[in-house]
Symmetry: C2
Subunit: 137 residues, 2 copies
């Protein structure tokens, strides 16, 4: 029950997934994908992009975020709850910059929250909001 049986492999899907994998360390928006393929000979229609992203999310191949303040969703390659390369997101509310921080110590929170609050944090999806060092000066 991993792979759906009745699925076709199309050029569009191949290209979209390849682009997502190439950018696995970043978040990308649906629009970035649409724009990326809009200039070539056979542009990929946006409904195709949205539908495929939706499909990949449901199959747990990519993950969907919403960064506060941005009106559009972000996508990133990787399973939900994927703990392989733990990293946290910090978004500065002042300058808007998004920091990707790898931190072992913070995994302690995860345990605490799981034991005390009975909630399993998906750290790769959680975004911390606040003010970064530069902006506090």
């Amino acid at each position: 029950m991993e792979q759906k049986s009745n699925e076709y492999k199309t050029k569009q899907r191949e290209a979209i997934l390849e682009y997502i994998v190439e950018n696995k360390e970043k978040h990308i928006t649906a629009d970035e994908i649409i724009t990326r393929f809009s200039k070539q000979d056979n542009p990929i229609g946006k409904s195709t992009v949205y539908r495929y992203l939706d499909k990949l999310c449901k199959e747990n191949i990519i993950r969907r975020f919403t960064i506060d303040g941005s009106s559009s969703a972000c996508y990133q390659y990787g399973k939900d709850g994927d703990s392989c390369h733990e990293h946290y997101h910090f978004k500065c509310e002042k300058c808007g910059e998004l920091f990707h921080v790898g931190c072992q110590l913070m995994n302690g929170i995860k345990e605490h929250v799981l034991e005390e609050h009975d909630f399993m944090i998906d750290s790769s999806k959680t975004v911390f909001y606040g003010i970064c060092g530069k902006c506090r000066n």
Copy 2:
């Protein structure tokens, strides 16, 4: 430079702010406000609501969130970075429920992140995503 000088006090603004304050322990959406006042004799226009919410955010009287998965923004009474009644948000990605958890221990994270990562977390605005106890069974 605290209070803007040329401002009028109108019934609409009074009503909107009152409603936000009444619900200070919850998040409310623009639409909830619009709906709330849509049935009365003089409904409040949505542009008024959006414009006023925007204004209150800029003046740091209310705070704006985006809960992942929801397409609309949420608002809550209280300053940005307001640490008076610390509480954290946990959102279950499975059942969609949003938990409001008060937790002293977790303030330790805040210190750690500030010291080690030079980032001041606004805990009242941060939402943790994951799976709640019920849904893990």
